[in-house]
Symmetry: D2
Subunit: 140 residues, 4 copies
């Protein structure tokens, strides 16, 4: 059975000039934008892009997010963003992220998403096809 | 008849830390976000907020934007943003902007907007109620 | 002795159009930008702006951030951002945040900051003047 | 002698979710961020990255920017950003940009940059090495 490592999606990014702030490093808020890029690429890597999630009448609403900033990232730094599904429940899913640069772990974090019916914005079970593409044997 | 000066809307802003970049000044892209804040406040100042524009089934789509950057703005600088309607045509409207800080003109610019029917995304005439609230005697 | 409630700084904000995303709500990353605005206003409210922190040769580097998203915020929603110092240690300080709109708590979160010497980027004790302006009797 | 076409730098981008707004398209301010990515990649493609420009004690300050929005770009749209040097003067340089998606021109624009001495923030001549890597025979 597939383990987590096999499902880890890797996205190359580079710190944009507009993503830095006056301290000369990537602004703390930008990391959540990068995480968002990561989970969209993660879904794409499973063969199911975000448009399909939406078309199914559901949405994965962010209900929690957290970041640990370990090493500052500067303009033009190349980043290797890792994203994987770290927890799967009836009506929610958690993605985890790591930002690596020059083989150093620079940040880590996670986002928790509730599955909602878009017409009612009410929580619903994750659809079967989504459960199927996410790791089969989550630790939690 | 009302002249342009009377229609000028003024919005106080302050340069946010996340709006600066590694050079230590407000990033050039942020100015267009401020202009957007300005024209929304301009509409609100006429008693017609943007929600009303939308509810009417039309949209004012940005088709052109330009900025002249005169003096750099730094973190925490207080800005006095001026916005006014500088041109009114059958199916388009132009807004102009000035950014003042400490009584110095730091930037100026304009945006041109096409009026479109949202269902067809096709150009349409500006609705009467919108023409009415915009300056009655435009120069162009 | 002053309790926490007295030290809570309140900042009025309004969701900007550019802060929304295609789902029609404020994008999850924007919340960290608002938190940043909040803690800068908090410092200002104590009579010590961020420029003073910097001038003293230190910086308060973000090392952790977390957000709980409770209710979506939409374009033009008025927000009442609360920010307060929730924990004070030898070399770090935690700020907490709440975002209220129409008397409903829409989001909450916190950021943890390490005090660093800017020339060496090494952790140092919080300077006395900063400790003095922060709540005298923290719970943690 | 090399013509302009040979100097055109192409950068693949994809519209990020956080770059869209509540209308469901890429927000107008984001285009200037993309232009910035484009000119940095343009410099890199000449073998001289932006760090080198800075290390030389000069900066290319944005003094004007303009965008024409031709077709809306939506979340996840793949973009082919073109950037080239369109004008070279003693103390300034203009870059031009085109955003293509699915072989349709979706936006175009330009930015004008003054060359300044960073210590004095005063206009200076473009350094020889920079003139050399920019097109030898500009039209303007």
């Amino acid at each position: 059975m597939a383990g987590y490592g096999e499902w880890r999606c890797r996205v190359p990014l580079r710190v944009r000039f507009g993503e830095t702030d006056a301290v000369g490093v990537a602004n703390n808020a930008v990391y959540l934008s990068w995480f968002e890029v990561g989970r969209i690429e993660y879904l794409r890597s499973t063969g199911h892009d975000y448009a399909k999630v939406h078309a199914g009448g559901i949405d994965l609403v962010v209900v929690e997010a957290s970041v640990r900033y370990l090493k500052p990232l500067r303009f033009d730094d190349e980043i290797d963003l890792h994203c994987w599904c770290s927890r799967l429940r009836r009506a929610s899913v958690e993605f985890s992220y790591e930002l690596w640069s020059r083989n150093v772990l620079c940040a880590a974090g996670s986002t928790l998403h509730a599955c909602v019916d878009r017409s009612r914005m009410a929580p619903v079970r994750l659809p079967g096809w989504l459960v199927e593409i996410l790791p089969a044997d989550p630790p939690g």
